[in-house]
Structure formats: structure tokens, C-alpha cells
Symmetry: C2
Subunit: 157 residues, 2 copies
């Protein structure tokens, strides 16, 4: 990671450390390569009554990973934004019997250029983000398709 | 509530007490009238970095309330089922600045008859459940539209 990426990553961790539910879930940032963000949790605090992953934890981890991706992408470009999830669809495809990870990326192949051009011009922009929790046999255990809105606050120093 | 409803309600509470994330959220069953189930949480354990309700908490509370509704409806009819969420769409419509509640009900006007006839005949059935978190001005702050699957284990004693 570049120094700017590392600073943005540390800032995101500090935001996550202020959200009680991500603390309760023991959610950790695990990987960021500039286009995909991964976060992971242990099963124990995210288990349901049947002994597998609680649906709320799967949805929450995918949502927060998508949100974190937008936050990182904005901050490493010098933007300080309020970022909100607007709408999301979650598919629960396989039960998850162990620790799990969510991987989030921008949907489509266009990259962030239009998003940041819109954010620069209008002060707000929408992003379509997708996430998956990898399951067995190379298939996702859960997936999320979400729309986020970023509103620019100021240009970060 | 009838005695059977009260027993089903107590059983649901005992299931919720085994899910760490609902404990962390401080989620409580608040009302059940035979067709709608409500659950509530305080804001503090469900707050985000901006001081309003965390999206993951809104989604989780609506999901668990829908799940609880299917669990209650099944149990008060003597069915012991594994109940899974299959797919859900969440809309985040207003920020939530205080304690909040989710209210879940069966979608449509047909009632539970087809669902339980299918469950009796085939051992599994699908239910379409909707939930809302009431917001200001009589409008929802968030809504969820979800598909659940119930699989019969045994007929409860």
C-alpha cells in the first residue's frame, strides 16, 4: 500500500473502532489492494441458534465492508465524505460454519472515475458496490448488491 | 396472548438469548398480536460513526424480527422448524437518531393458511415477510422485504 493508502486504512480502522456492533462482531480489516476490501470475523460472536453464521452478521459484515471500500476510495483521493447505504439486496446461499470474510468491490468494470468526477462537480455521488462471503466449492455463501451515496464534507488536508 | 402464544413467545426469547449479536444489540421482543411482531433496541449499542443508527443494526433487527415472526407462527401451531432467510432487500430511507423498533408481518393479505398447508404437506414452505422501522412523519426509516424458508423438524409436543 502507498502511504496515503496506509493513512486511509488507519482512518477507516479508527471509524470501525467507534461502531459498537462492529466491535461486538470483532470485525477486522484484512486486505485492501486499491480495488477490493476484505474484512473478517470469527464465528463465535456471529453465530446463530443453529450453530452457523447469523444472517444479520453476514449482512452487516458485507454492508460495512462495502461502506469501508467507499470510505477508503474517497479518503485516499483526499475526499472527506459522509457515506450512506441507500438500498441493498442480500442473498443467503449457503450456511457458514466457521470464521468468515466479506470481500467488497465496485460493481461493473468502469472503475471510480465517473464516481469521483461526479463527487468533485456536484458534491455528492452514487456508487454501486457488491460484496460476497466466500463459501465452499468456490461459490459464495452470501452476496450483497448495494447502492451507496457519498456526500462531500470538505477536501481533507 | 393465549397460553400457546405465551409459550411460543418465551421459546423465541430463549432462542434470541442464544444469539450473541442480538444480545450485543440488546434486542427485546416488545409486542406480538398474532400477526405482527415488534422488537426494539436502544440506540447506544447500535450507533454508527455519525451518531445515528448503524445500517447493519437496522438490517439485523428487521431480519431477526421477520425470522421471529415465522418462528412464532410455526410454534404456536405446534410446528418445530428450522427457519432460514433466503433473500432480502433493505431500503434505508431516513437516519434514525434514537432507540428504534422493527415491526414484521406476513406480506400480502392471504394469511398463513397456504404456508402451513404447504409445510404440512411437503415438510417445507416459503414465506414472504416484510418489516419496517417506523421513522418520522409516519414514514418508515427503513424497510425490509424478505423470503424465508421453513423446514419442519418434528411436530412439537
Amino acid at each position: 500500500m502507498s502511504t496515503q493508502n496506509t493513512t486511509a486504512f488507519a482512518h477507516l480502522q479508527s471509524l470501525l473502532d467507534r461502531i459498537p456492533l462492529t466491535i461486538a462482531m470483532q470485525a477486522k480489516l484484512t486486505e485492501y489492494d486499491g480495488s477490493q476490501l476484505a474484512m473478517s470475523v470469527p464465528l463465535a460472536p456471529n453465530i446463530n441458534d443453529k450453530g452457523c453464521a447469523f444472517g444479520g452478521s453476514l449482512a452487516s459484515l458485507m454492508t460495512i465492508t462495502c461502506w469501508g471500500l467507499v470510505e477508503l476510495a474517497a479518503r485516499e483521493r483526499g475526499y472527506d465524505c459522509d457515506i450512506y447505504v441507500g438500498e441493498s439486496t442480500v442473498k443467503y446461499l449457503q450456511p457458514v460454519w466457521g470464521d468468515f470474510q466479506a470481500e467488497a468491490r465496485l460493481a461493473g468494470k468502469g472503475g471510480w472515475d465517473i464516481f469521483f468526477a461526479t463527487l468533485a462537480n456536484r458534491g455528492r455521488a452514487r456508487a454501486h458496490i457488491v460484496a460476497e462471503v466466500p463459501g465452499v466449492d468456490g461459490k459464495p455463501a452470501a452476496s450483497l448488491d448495494a447502492r451507496f451515496v457519498a456526500k462531500r464534507r470538505t477536501i481533507a488536508a
